[in-house]
């Protein structure tokens, strides 16, 4: 595992506001890191500092061993950076824009053409290659931005909300592009779409108010959800009472919630004690007591809930049904 991005106590203050507060982390080659957080949490600011667009107030960032503060041009050479909203020159065509990017990245002649052709094919821009960018749809504009980011096949990619505002098919396309590139690069994407983290990321970092709140694999994060491994039993009203009392008496159960869904249907959610698997026991118990459950699930826990718990300013606590 080679460390590709290293942040060391990175801090950025704007006046009295601390946008990024003492953030330290390392991203290795082969990782796709999902950078999660509510708006204004400091995601973009952190990314801009790594890309060399913003200078940190204190701390340092380095990419491939090069310090962003002392040698920004060397860092920018190794980096593909997609700013939020993927801005591009609207009066240029994708062809002329990508040629410009290729030239400034140091490619000439046949190599320049080869790079442009390869990236155009990768993001499927062929049909709009010679139309002004400002006349293109949002999806195509975003693809032009993505093409710009990966034209020089950089070892490190930083993309600020790469799928924001795209339709579901375009999102899927962008995600598969990211997955294809993932095996030998270090990729950081920021997002507030949690399904995206599950779909493409090997690691998730949650940031709120400038501080890292969590840093784990997406499935580890999900395990932190309050309803992780909870068992949901859907049953009739008549059976609900006995089920509640029998299951509630089990050793591994910490809590039970019930919810009347309609006249005859009741949802019973059984929370296990920490680390316990109770679905098997519940199944056995129901059979033994001859009680019928219409359906029974083991819940995985949703990233949304973990995200909420870690980032919400004011927690509503007991009012929430997990």
């Amino acid at each position: 595992m080679r460390p590709m991005i290293e942040l060391d106590q990175l801090t950025k203050r704007f006046g009295t506001i601390t946008a990024v507060d003492n953030v330290s982390m390392t991203v290795n080659a082969g990782e796709v890191l999902g950078f999660l957080g509510p708006n204004g949490a400091g995601k973009s600011t952190t990314m801009k500092m790594v890309a060399g667009f913003l200078d940190p107030t204190s701390g340092r960032a380095s990419v491939c061993g090069q310090d962003v503060g002392t040698d920004p041009v060397a860092v920018k050479r190794r980096l593909g950076y997609l700013p939020e909203g993927a801005p591009t020159y609207g009066d240029m065509t994708p062809a002329s824009y990508l040629r410009f990017i290729a030239e400034i990245r140091g490619f000439d002649g046949a190599e320049r053409q080869r790079r442009v052709d390869a990236v155009v094919e990768k993001v499927s821009l062929e049909e709009v290659l010679h139309q002004p960018i400002e006349t293109l749809s949002k999806g195509f504009k975003r693809r032009v931005g993505l093409a710009q980011t990966m034209l020089h096949d950089p070892p490190v990619l930083i993309m600020d909300e790469p799928t924001d505002g795209l339709d579901p098919n375009q999102k899927r396309h962008v995600r598969s592009l990211i997955r294809e590139m993932a095996h030998d690069k270090a990729i950081v994407i920021s997002t507030h779409i949690l399904e995206e983290v599950q779909a493409v990321c090997s690691r998730a970092v949650i940031i709120a108010r400038g501080k890292i709140q969590a840093d784990a694999r997406p499935d580890e994060l999900r395990a932190k959800a309050t309803n992780h491994n909870a068992v949901l039993i859907i049953t009739t009203e008549s059976d609900a009472g006995p089920i509640k009392s029998k299951v509630g008496a089990m050793a591994g159960v910490s809590n039970i919630q019930t919810e009347q869904k309609s006249d005859s249907i009741v949802h019973i959610r059984v929370f296990p004690k920490k680390g316990q698997q109770i679905s098997g026991q519940i199944g056995d118990l129901l059979r033994a007591e001859n009680l019928t459950a219409r359906e029974m699930f083991v819940e995985q826990g949703a990233l949304d809930d973990v995200f909420w718990d870690m980032t919400a300013e004011t927690k509503q606590g007991g009012n929430r049904n997990a």
Partner: protein, 244 residues
């Protein structure tokens, strides 16, 4: 150098990607022509020189050059493309110089297209072509100085209109500073050396010296150092304000 050339090439092409370039060139040519013939009485002076042509250049540039410069950085900041540009492997001075040179080359083309008047004066009489060459050079240098001011002001704001107004005002002060109206204001309460310093910053003084055929190194040095100063300020401002 390579990066400056690439940036300049892109920027130059983008002038012609919008109607701005054509509108500017047409207006510039129409105004230089009409001022020369009507205000300058080119045909009735009985002198074969281009004095009535060049004398209005400072006033034309005052209005037109900030219009060329205003988009250089304001637009990048407004559309957010500055974030792309400044995360490419180039340094700030390369970006500033590339953009400036593109705008300057554009002004040079507009100025070059006034060549029919040079031909006209040669057909009608026997002018001193050395003086005319010098005047063209002086005019181009002065356009460069206006542009450097405009480019620097453009880096200050996202708003092109504001950048135009600030740049035009700054250019106006530099143009006027040699005239008595401005100098009398300072004479009353500042020491002589200060008044002389202000007078020496005047575009008009230096430009008129050049158009009279006196190419002195101090006039060239004046414009070149003014360009250098404003571009240096431009680099600092881009670095400071690019992300705000």
């Amino acid at each position: 150098m390579r990066n400056i050339r690439i940036i300049a090439k892109r920027e130059f092409a983008s002038y012609f990607g919008t109607p701005l370039a054509y509108v500017f060139i047409v207006i510039f040519l129409a105004l230089t022509g009409s001022m020369t013939f009507f205000l300058g009485a080119f045909l009735f002076r009985g002198q074969a020189d281009l004095q009535p042509f060049f004398v209005y250049h400072p006033w034309l540039y005052l209005l037109l050059v900030p219009a060329v410069a205003m988009r250089l950085w304001s637009e990048e900041r407004k559309t957010g493309t500055i974030e792309n540009l400044m995360t490419l492997p180039i340094s700030t001075h390369e970006a500033v110089l590339g953009k400036f040179l593109a705008a300057w080359a554009f002004c040079a083309i507009a100025l070059f297209l006034t060549f029919p008047i040079w031909i006209t004066v040669n057909v009608l009489g026997d002018p001193d072509n050395g003086v005319i060459m010098a005047s063209y050079l002086g005019s181009l240098l002065m356009a460069g100085a206006f542009l450097a001011i405009g480019s620097c002001m453009s880096a200050l704001t996202k708003n092109q209109v504001i950048s135009f107004i600030i740049a035009a005002t700054a250019c106006f002060l530099f143009t006027m500073s040699g005239l008595d109206i401005v100098l009398n204001f300072f004479r009353a309460w500042t020491p002589d050396w200060f008044v002389e310093t202000i007078a020496s910053l005047s575009f008009l003084t230096h430009f008129n010296a050049v158009t009279q055929g006196l190419i002195e190194s101090r006039d060239i040095v004046f414009f070149v150092s003014l360009i250098a100063f404003w571009l240096f300020a431009n680099i600092l401002i881009v670095d400071l304000k690019k992300a705000s």
